[in-house]
């Protein structure tokens, strides 16, 4: 069973790793990059939403903060992409603390509303602080990532993002399987009990929120160097909602569910491009049906299907 459980993620990883190298179509390579990018975002949002049960409708805002920091830092100081990766992540983390410390006492709808408000404040700042952000025109000409004289191609960006995604997944795995992960899950399950068991609720909520923002900011830096242009339009509440949908559809609180959700919600709209105007109706319907059919998310369904498949394999081998 456990070998079967490991088999599918490893196969997925192999396909993910080989595809950018063998595919020649730049459009497909771009889509692969976007899948990886949104996977990083969904996995990070899952720390706050899935494991800890915090509502957050401003994840794309932290993504945007990371992207703006990377853009400004690399244009003004010529900092390397690895520096902007760290800086973007840390500044986003700082904003996560700034938002989280006073507001994480709130729950459910109230917290969701506060995060929406925060997203609007940052977006308006990006639009109106023209001397810093160039307002609605955005910041063009961000240097692409360079390593020892080698200029990153879109294929290289795919591998860069994939490495970060894998590091992130491993970090989340280690956190979830630890004293800290158990404290986060306890807060999601029942705050009163968590409190009675000696879990400092505010500390762990802020920690989850900050970690979630850190990875979103890092994703922002990768994205900024890849597209070489950032503007307030790239980081809207609609994007935050999409990321949240990826987490919920894929399976919140599971390690790989958000990745499945990201793959589904990036790839399906592209496959439906032939239906042009109507495609988002299909996507919406697919989400509603997906969640109605399976509250635990696609991850759960796939896990069980694999379990059955594994069991049937087992029988065949025995027979």
């Amino acid at each position: 069973m456990s070998t079967v459980r490991r088999f599918w993620p490893i196969l997925g990883l192999l396909v993910w790793a080989v595809l950018p190298a063998v595919v020649k179509d730049p459009y497909v390579i771009h889509m692969l990059f976007m899948v990886t990018m949104f996977s990083i975002l969904a996995v990070s949002l899952n720390i706050a939403v899935g494991y800890t049960g915090l509502s957050n409708l401003s994840h794309a805002t932290f993504f945007g903060i990371g992207a703006y920091v990377a853009a400004l830092l690399s244009i003004k100081t010529g900092a390397s992409f690895l520096i902007t990766l760290l800086a973007g992540g840390l500044v986003a983390l700082g904003f996560g603390l700034l938002l989280g410390l006073p507001t994480l006492r709130l729950k459910g709808f109230y917290l969701a509303l506060v995060t929406i408000g925060f997203g609007q404040i940052i977006r308006l700042t990006e639009l109106n602080w023209i001397s810093l952000t160039n307002g609605p025109m955005g910041i063009p000409g961000i240097p692409t990532a360079r390593l020892a004289g080698y200029e990153f191609t879109p294929v290289a960006f795919n591998y860069y993002a994939l490495v970060i995604l894998l590091l992130e997944i491993e970090a989340v795995r280690r956190i979830s399987d630890s004293r800290i992960g158990r404290a986060l899950m306890a807060i999601k399950n029942d705050e009163i009990v968590a409190n009675a068991l000696g879990v400092n609720i505010t500390y762990y909520k802020v920690l989850a929120f900050a970690l979630s923002s850190l990875f979103a900011g890092m994703a922002g830096s990768i994205y900024a160097h890849y597209v070489t242009f950032v503007s307030p339009d790239s980081f809207t509440m609609a994007d935050s909602v999409s990321i949240l949908c990826m987490v919920i559809l894929g399976g919140s609180g599971t390690l790989l569910g958000p990745v499945i959700g990201a793959v589904a919600l990036v790839v399906i709209p592209e496959l439906l491009r032939f239906a042009s105007l109507y495609r988002m109706i299909f996507v919406g319907a697919a989400m509603v049906i997906g969640i109605l059919v399976r509250e635990g998310g696609l991850g759960q369904t796939i896990k069980e299907a694999i379990g059955r498949f594994g069991a049937s394999l087992h029988r065949e081998v025995k027979a």
Partner: protein
């Protein structure tokens, strides 16, 4: 031995409702004590005060000689008081083992970077708490369910898990809120043996709220009776059983002069 817990003149008022009025009681270290009374007597309110979920309107709670009223629940857990809940509160979506491991949260120290780096401290602490948690599950008799989600356990087993989790916090004083509620007679006997073992073998002091008189009389060395927010009696089981005010509280005053015939 001395008193591990002293409650001095505690009153609790919710708006116009006087839930507790000037209640004082003590629990001797190393004993099993009972807290009984009709529904609405204020027993759970008193538990909420001792465990830090409520701050009394007036009065003091002294634990091991130090005042502890007004501290938040997580601080009281660190100090050594933990409780179970009347309506079982497990972490439903977590496994049985994880529920007990959480009990050790306040006794362990590894942080984010230990978890990320899988340091030797982290490995050692995880290994120790895991082993201790498994021993505790074995102690309460549910070790075979360690990987089940807590919500999948039967009612009686959920109660045992909740008790195991409270023990895991290292509490010197365990507050059990109606541990036998909803149990059948056989399960109640098992529970009685478990509470005894917690007291004898683990050396923990137990204060329990209980509606099953047979059980509470059998287990407790001292019983405190509350009625309508006031303490009406205190003593050993024999004294309580024959105490006129207790009988009155439970059965009602006898009618005089046959004003109403049944």
């Amino acid at each position: 031995m001395g008193n591990i817990l002293e409650i001095k003149n505690v009153s609790m008022r919710f708006g116009g409702l006087q839930a507790l009025h000037d209640v004082s009681m003590t629990v001797e270290e190393g004993s099993i004590a009972g807290l009984i009374g009709p529904n609405g007597a204020g027993k759970t309110t008193l538990f909420n005060i001792i465990s830090g979920f409520l701050t009394p309107t007036s009065g003091e709670v002294i634990f091991e000689g130090k005042p502890v009223h007004g501290l938040p629940p997580y601080r009281l857990t660190e100090i050594g008081i933990n409780r179970t809940f009347q309506n079982i509160r497990l972490l439903q979506e977590m496994t049985v083992l994880q529920n007990v491991q959480l009990g050790y949260h306040c006794r362990t120290r590894t942080g984010l970077f230990d978890a990320l780096g899988r340091t030797s401290l982290f490995k050692q602490e995880e290994e120790t708490t895991r082993r201790q948690a498994l021993e505790l599950l074995d102690f309460v008799g549910i070790a075979q369910y360690k990987d089940e989600l807590a919500k999948n356990l039967s009612y009686g087993l959920q109660r045992k898990l909740e008790i195991a989790r409270a023990i895991a916090t290292g509490a010197k004083l365990l507050l059990l809120d109606e541990p036998s509620a909803g149990m059948n007679p056989a399960e109640k006997d098992g529970l009685a043996a478990l509470v005894r073992a917690i007291n004898d073998q683990l050396g923990r002091t137990v204060l329990l709220i209980e509606h099953d008189m047979r059980l509470v009389m059998y287990l407790s060395q001292k019983i405190t009776v509350l009625n309508q927010g006031e303490k009406i009696a205190e003593g050993d089981p024999a004294q309580i059983q024959s105490h006129p005010r207790v009988i009155e509280a439970y059965l009602g005053r006898s009618y005089k002069g046959g004003e109403r015939s049944a």
